[in-house]
């Protein structure tokens, strides 16, 4: 695997002097990109296991972790004011496993508060910007991780994907973003937003790099009883090679449509059959997703009261008052909106109308996908209908952003693996397309993505940092 990652990374992480230079360089460069919320190479190295750091499959490779994933000793803000000051007392299973493979976590990256958003503008901290164009969003919610990889600060980063939060920022930043099959990567240590939808995901500059990372991080975990081994040996490139595409007008912006057409062309050039499919229940994916996600979020975020950790309101007449004030001061607008929505749909007497209905749609979507994957090996679809949009009022409203999630949400509702891959630069910005495969086809899906990606000219990332600078300087 060593050739997948430049050897210079290991040189940097094994020398305290290089490590310091590296941290200083990245910190300086990141003052305007704001990908990192905390950069602590010393802490990361102290967690690394000496033996595997030398010989593990990811030996000495530094990586960034979205700040809603626990790494012992690092901050654990989830991009929220309410968790200001919290240091994680434990490490997430996925991070533990990467440590065990020799990788070195060096910092925590920015995100939309609790993963709620697709622009990084919902972070309680200074928002991350897109390294391709500092006036544009990096996408979200794993925008900090996407920017860190795109800018070359780290060779890979962890994100979390509840409704597209790994894939969409990957598309915006011109990198690969992989959302594994639900359950194949333990969620233990991932601050819950919507438990039944989300997974930890991975972001890299090259598709092949995803393989050793997924190998190291995945597998059943006793601390997450919804986790399981990804034991399937599906080979998507075997047999009749058919790729499904959605029929009809997908409502894409012109540059995205160009990327989409090129992707279809690429499959055709590789000799694949293209079939058009209709997935009628997809029209209901957005409302179904937001109903389920908000319901789960309303319970998942109830624990943040300032009683045991995090920030607490100074006004504390009694418990109830203190909790109210703390939550009012600590949560941002979007988070409050989703908590209220979730509380609303779960009210006694209204569950059948909303929550139960949403679960039924979810089952329909699942069934449609199962049927689809008997006819085609994979589904090709855009990641997001537009490219990275401008920060602020020139961008998308919160409602428009939610509707634009329609291509990424289905993989979460159905628990299926999906990868966003860059198809090149259109109008000066990267475009990402998405491949979805059947459950447990993760490894094969990554290999197929790598295979298809070779049809496209390599995207020259806006690397602001090159590891060679540290060892030569």
């Amino acid at each position: 695997m060593s050739e997948l990652f430049p050897a210079v990374w290991k040189q940097i992480t094994s020398s305290p002097r290089h490590l310091k230079c590296y941290e200083q360089a990245v910190a300086a460069l990141d003052t305007d990109t704001c990908a990192f919320l905390e950069l602590r190479t010393d802490l990361g190295v102290s967690l690394a296991e000496p033996a595997v750091k030398e010989y593990g499959s990811l030996s000495g490779i530094p990586f960034a972790v979205k700040d809603n994933i626990a790494v012992k000793g690092f901050q654990f803000s989830c991009g929220s004011q309410i968790l200001a000051g919290l240091r994680s007392p434990y490490t997430a299973t996925a991070v533990e496993r990467l440590l065990h493979a020799g990788a070195v976590p060096i910092g925590k990256t920015n995100l939309d508060e609790f993963g709620m958003g697709s622009s990084n503008q919902n972070s309680a901290c200074k928002p991350t910007v897109n390294p391709w164009d500092l006036s544009r969003v990096p996408g979200g919610s794993s925008g900090g991780s996407a920017a860190a990889v795109s800018a070359g600060y780290v060779p890979f980063a962890l994100g979390s994907d509840t409704g597209g939060s790994v894939r969409q920022p990957a598309a915006f930043c011109g990198i690969f973003g992989f959302k594994p099959t639900y359950g194949t990567v333990s969620r233990y240590g991932l601050a819950a937003y919507a438990s039944s939808l989300e997974t930890i995901g991975f972001m890299t500059a090259q598709a092949e790099q995803l393989i050793p990372i997924f190998e190291a991080a995945s597998g059943a975990d006793g601390r997450d009883q919804t986790s399981l081994d990804c034991s399937d040996t599906t080979d998507l490139t075997e047999g009749i090679q058919t790729v499904a595409v959605l029929a009809g007008d997908l409502g894409l912006d012109a540059p995205v449509l160009r990327g989409y057409s090129k992707a279809i062309e690429a499959f055709r050039s590789l000799g694949w059959n293209i079939v058009e499919v209709k997935l009628p229940s997809l029209d209901y994916a957005v409302p179904s997703y937001y109903t389920i996600a908000s319901a789960e979020a309303s319970a998942n975020l109830a624990r943040y009261t300032g009683v045991r950790y995090g920030s607490r309101s100074r006004e504390e007449h009694d418990h109830q008052h203190m909790v109210r004030r703390t939550r009012d001061e600590g949560f941002g607008k979007e988070v409050k909106l989703r908590i209220l929505l979730g509380t609303y749909v779960l009210r006694e007497g209204f569950q059948d109308q909303y929550y139960v209905q949403a679960q039924k749609i979810r089952t329909l979507i699942r069934n449609e996908f199962s049927k689809l994957f008997t006819k085609a090996g994979v589904l090709l679809l855009p990641t997001f209908p537009i490219q990275a949009f401008p920060i602020g009022d020139g961008g998308l409203t919160s409602m428009q952003q939610k509707l634009a999630d329609r291509f990424t949400l289905p993989a979460n509702l159905a628990g299926l693996p999906a990868v966003s891959f860059p198809t090149g630069i259109e109008s000066g910005l990267p475009v990402g397309m998405q491949l979805m495969g059947p459950a447990m086809s993760d490894r094969s899906l990554i290999r197929l993505t790598a295979h298809v990606s070779r049809c496209f000219p390599e995207v020259a990332l806006p690397r602001r940092f090159s590891p060679g600078e540290v060892t030569h300087g």
Binding site: Y90, A192, Q225, A299, A302, Q320, L346, E348
Partner: protein, 477 residues
């Protein structure tokens, strides 16, 4: 005439090694906040991992309570904010409890009674709040402990019946080793609901009573509540549906919250724990762990052994006692003797030396041997008791060893005893004189000398007869 309807909601802390969703040990009485981890403290990112032993004990309880056991069971989130709840939702069971629709038989004054069980469900316990002046302290050691809730139908018809039922229930959970049954430490907690109505009119307005931490308080609170509701009825006033708190000091129940303030818990299925489908092997293990329950035992002891209700209850109440009793019988002790020795001498020794009948301190075979020796007059009853006590004291499990150490043996014949007695009488002529004058107190004194000289081996009745003959007194009886 009024009719009383009482139902109980009982919570038992299951005797699992670790808490229900994390690996913290379940130990009570530790320093506050020392049995906690990120999971039971509700840190961001943690997940519950359900303890299979807790599921096992829940299914065992369900089976013992004749419930229909769930072929597939899952957890639900019960949402409410409370400082002792770390996640502000409780992982509980709402739509698919472990067991539904069972019953429990119990004996009230020797009569078999049946109470139906609505459902039993597994959940996590909350922490504890300690109020100190105008602030509160939180101890989360108990948070996340495995808790099983058992809900009965409102079929108990009097406060006394509720008390007896609860005691019988306690005996059952101890027998199954599902819970230690301790109400003072809160391992077993009980809320009661009660309604009173005119005879034949069905259920009245239900009032719930909380804070009942002994079976006696359950009875007292219910007695108070029945009186209160009956009085309201007589006065033509309505009973308000509410939750009331038992105040031990005043001996009254006090209103806590009314129905209007009742909460919407917004239950929904717990997404972090997959549904549990018990395997055949699991269910077989449940079945094979079932044992004869205390009520059935008690009834059998009365019917088969002809024991009194009181004795049968005493023996059947605790599993180890009942099993010991049965082992005494199967190793050859008569039923009446076995019961008498357990209730008498063995209970006394247990109290004095704090050992348990099942820990091998006094193996039942050894006790049978000792009891048999009293029958064959190899030991006097007094000596037998002494042998048992010495066995406990010296940690010896073979009675023969203690008997040899003490040189206990049956007095060979009256001749030897007569010799000892005449020697003692000769040495204590004054005492003999007093006895002849009718002062029978001195008999005890001389008897003590005799027994000491014979190392307790003399049969006291024989010795007394011979002593009085020697002195020249007629036997009194």
């Amino acid at each position: 005439m009024v009719e009383i309807f009482i139902g109980l909601e009982i919570h038992i802390q299951l005797m699992t090694r670790s808490k229900v969703f994390c690996s913290c040990e379940m130990i009570s009485g530790e320093e506050p906040n020392t049995r906690i981890c990120p999971v039971c403290m509700g840190y961001p990112g943690v997940l519950p991992a359900v303890n299979e032993q807790a599921l096992f004990l829940s299914y065992l309880m369900g089976s013992a309570l004749n419930c229909t056991l769930a072929q597939k069971t899952w957890f639900d989130r019960k949402n409410y904010f409370y400082p002792d709840m770390t996640k502000n939702y409780q992982i509980s069971q709402f739509s698919s409890p472990v067991g539904r629709g069972g019953w429990m038989d119990y004996l009230e004054k020797g009569e078999l009674k049946r109470v139906h069980i609505h459902d039993i469900h597994l959940e996590e316990d909350a922490g504890k709040m300690v109020h100190q002046g105008n602030f509160s302290l939180l101890d989360y050691n108990r948070a996340g402990s495995s808790l099983l809730e058992i809900v009965t139908e409102p079929e108990l018809t009097s406060p006394e019946a509720a008390e007896v039922f609860l005691q019988s229930f306690r005996s059952l959970v101890r027998c199954l080793r599902a819970c230690d049954g301790n109400m003072e430490t809160g391992s077993l907690r009980c809320d009661a609901n009660v309604s009173v109505n005119s005879l034949g009119m069905g259920l009245g307005t239900k009032v719930e009573i909380k804070n009942l931490n002994s079976s006696r308080f359950v009875r007292k609170a219910l007695e108070y509540e029945v009186r209160r509701q009956s009085r309201l009825m007589q006065a033509g006033k309505p009973v308000i549906q509410e939750t009331r708190l038992w105040n031990e000091q005043s001996g009254k129940t006090e209103s806590m919250r009314t129905k209007e303030e009742a909460k919407d818990y917004r239950y929904f299925p717990e997404p972090d724990i997959p549904p549990f489908v018990p395997s055949e092997a699991f269910l077989n293990r449940v079945t094979s762990s079932l044992t004869e329950l205390p009520a059935a035992r008690e009834l059998r002891y009365i019917r088969e052994y002809g024991l009194t209700e009181e004795t049968a209850h005493y023996l059947a109440e605790e599993r180890e006692r009942a099993e010991y009793f049965e082992e005494l019988i199967s190793s050859g002790t008569e039923v009446a003797a076995a019961a008498a020795w357990i209730k008498g001498e063995l209970a006394k020794l247990q109290g004095r030396y704090a050992f348990s009948l099942s820990d091998g301190t006094l193996p039942p075979q050894a006790v049978t041997t000792v009891v048999r020796m009293t029958g064959t007059e190899e030991l006097t009853v007094q000596q037998a008791k002494q042998v048992l006590e010495l066995m406990v004291q010296r940690g010896i499990v073979q009675p023969e060893e203690v008997i040899a150490q003490e040189g206990f043996k049956k007095a060979e014949d009256d001749g030897e005893l007569k010799e000892i007695i005449s020697k003692i009488v000769a040495e204590h002529l004054n005492a003999a004189e007093q006895i002849r004058d009718g002062n029978m107190k001195a008999v005890g004194y001389l008897m003590g000398m005799v027994m000491k000289e014979t190392r307790q081996s003399a049969d006291p009745r024989t010795a007394r007869r011979l002593l009085l003959e020697e002195i020249g007194c007629k036997q009194e009886e």
